[in-house]
Amino acid sequence: MGQLAVAFVTMTLGVLACAGYFYGSNALLDVIFPSKNRPPEVVARNLRIVNQVRPWLFLGPALLLLFFYLFYPVVQSVILSFYGRTGEEFVGLDNYLWLFQSGEFLESFRNNMLWLIVVPTLSTFFGLIIATMTDRIWWGNIAKTLIFMPMAISFIGASIIWKFIYEYRSGGDEQIGLLNALVVFFGGEPQTWIQIPFWNNFFLMVILVWIQTGFAMVILSAALRGIPDETIEAAVLDGASGLQIFFRIMVPQIWGTIAVVWTTITILVLKVFDIVLAMTNGQWGTQVLANQMFSWLFQGGGDYGRSAVIALVIMILVVPIMVWNIKNANAEMEGR
């Protein structure tokens, strides 16, 4: 029981320290610059100061953590991308030249583009359909839980599951892979799915769609519930059909959230390497940037320079999404 008590105390302290900061710092701010029972000019001045300081109190811990855990490593990566494999010898643009000349990079880049188109689209699409439909049926929560389940399985578990689906046995033997069993049942020839050039990429994407649909569903479902009932009731009274309500009222209302889900999954696709690593390790033409980076980082003692270059390419790919998000945020602010 001692172990448990220690764990519990550590947890509580950790969480309390964090909550304490927000309470404490805000209380302190109000004590130093009081806005009550003071002459009006002092109140006005204090209020101004408080309003200028408080956003940074709110943002402070987040910015600190983001800087240390994410921004600082990015800067490191940029610097390392000009250095050799041990990170000590300056090589200029060698790593960049190497990257754009390597056939593996072109292959990963092409595959990544496919992933970027297919996975976010399908996950968001299915997530939206399921989120909308499950709200209308009595067993919706059960359905949601089942769809959500893949999210709770670790990537390694997921790859085992799909290994048992894509598994290939030669013609005469009993198929233990579900897909080949079905193919054989309908009189076809069994296939080595994850080795079929080009199409194998899609078999890998299916796995991520299967996992990420649960994510899209949960977020979109929360957004759908935020739509005021009156809006929909009014539409129903106007005689709108289910489909009309869906396309004319629900989708526009949660458009922002759909975009957010899309963005999130797009970025996840750029980062995910576990599935490719576990299923093919990039063989048979399935390499993607994240996995390529991972293997350059760790294989044979690692090559910092080259993996940093690949990481930078991944980060540059996200720039259009950033720009689009700045635009959105600006538009929002103008409206406020």
Binding site: G14, I232, E233, I267, M315, N325, M333
Partner: protein, 378 residues
């Protein structure tokens, strides 16, 4: 939610579609579950869906050796049952690997060495020889076997030493690593959505940009920093505070991004009127924003919990993998052995790790609804 009145046909379509999708999404997991309660050697020879029906299995049986033979009329006899008490029916048998289905049960046959074999449909066998059995002989048989399940895989996993410790370690890592980022991100998200200060749009873009940072790139610089900081203060570089902050750091961009989107969508009039009443932003946040954003907080909590719970990489890097500090995922990986061959263990352990996240999902699902109610009361 409101159902369309004239839509009974539509409702049927909805039911059918959802059912279809649910089945598509559940089949792989069902496969995993069924595999986890199957016999280890069956896993790689027959599909999991056949586990539910009685199947025809081809098996090689080796009889015991001289220790169990008895002498009758000057002959050495071995008796026993091929199915070893299990249910089933022998449909064919053979005595050579070349012709494993040569004979019908009930017949008698002799091999090159003069050993006589007699096998019955119920699995009883009698092997006679005029010489003592130096070692067991092989009998090939094909049997109709009813479905057979076992909880052995789960037993192996649950009884593994140190599992309880790892379970507690995982909780100790996961709970603060879920709560802290939510707290920090909610404040930041509110500031980014409703407070006016210079550089706001730039910060939002920065958060989106940081979403994409591959965390593998951060591991070495961060651990180096940890070691240095640890050396200065004379503490271990690897510890709980370190891993909480790491998970918080890596989870923050998504948390801020998702929460900001939700919080900025809340009705502006409430916030404005509260401000007019003289409430400070801190009070507005605590009294209005927090309760209203419960659905978003709950959904993010679910995801953060899952990621941290299923994480192995960050835990091994920042917490280490000694006996005392191993988390659940690490412990389960350990059961797989050095070359990872024990898939039956993996299937069972996948289901054991899935239980807690699913409980969290069920638990928080109610809050998703409660948030809705709070929102519509306003």
């Amino acid at each position: 939610m409101v159902t369309s009145k004239k839509g009974s046909a539509l409702t049927m379509v909805v039911h059918a579609t959802v059912l279809f999708l649910v089945i598509m999404w559940t089949i792989p997991t069902a496969g995993l579950f069924i595999s986890s309660i199957r016999d280890k050697d069956q896993l790689s020879v027959s599909g999991w869906w056949t586990a539910l029906s009685s199947s025809e299995q081809k098996i090689v049986y080796r009889t015991p050796d001289a220790d169990s033979e008895i002498q009758e009329n000057g002959l050495y006899v071995l008796r026993g049952n091929l199915l070893e008490g299990g249910s089933g029916k022998v449909v064919k048998f053979g005595i050579s690997s070349l012709k494993p289905e040569a004979f019908e049960p009930g017949t008698e046959t002799q091999d090159r060495r003069g050993v006589t074999f007699k096998i019955m449909a119920n699995g009883d066998y009698e092997v006679t020889s005029d010489k003592s059995f130096r070692r067991g002989v092989r009998i090939f048989y094909t049997a109709e076997v009813p479905p057979r399940f076992t909880l052995d895989n789960y037993r192996t996993v649950l009884s593994s030493e140190g599992l309880g410790q790892s379970f507690i370690n995982s909780l100790t890592v996961t709970i603060p690593a879920t709560v802290i980022p939510i707290l920090i991100a909610a404040f930041a998200a509110y500031a980014l959505a409703w407070m006016k200060f210079p550089g706001r749009a730039l910060l939002i873009a920065g958060v989106v940009g940081l979403l994409v940072v591959p965390l593998q790139m951060s591991l070495i610089p961060l651990l180096t920093a940890y070691s240095k900081i640890g050396a200065i203060f004379g503490i271990e570089a690897k510890g709980y505070v370190g891993i909480w902050l790491a998970h918080t750091g890596f989870g923050l961009p998504l948390a801020i991004y998702l929460l900001r989107n939700y919080i900025s969508g809340l009705p502006g009039e409430i916030i404005e009127s509260a401000r007019v009443d003289g409430a400070s932003d801190f009070v507005i946040f605590r009294k209005i924003i927090l309760p209203l954003s419960f659905p978003a907080l709950a959904s993010f909590a679910i995801f953060q919990f899952l990621w941290v719970w299923n994480d192995l990489l960050i835990a091994t890097v920042f917490l280490g993998n000694t006996e005392e500090s191993l988390v659940l995922t690490g412990r389960l990986r350990e059961l797989l052995g050095s070359r990872g061959g024990n898939w039956e263990i993996l299937t069972a352990s996948a289901f054991i790790t899935i239980i807690i996240p699913l409980l969290v999902f069920f638990g928080l699902q109610r809050y998703l609804v409660r948030g809705l109610l709070a929102g519509s009361v306003k």
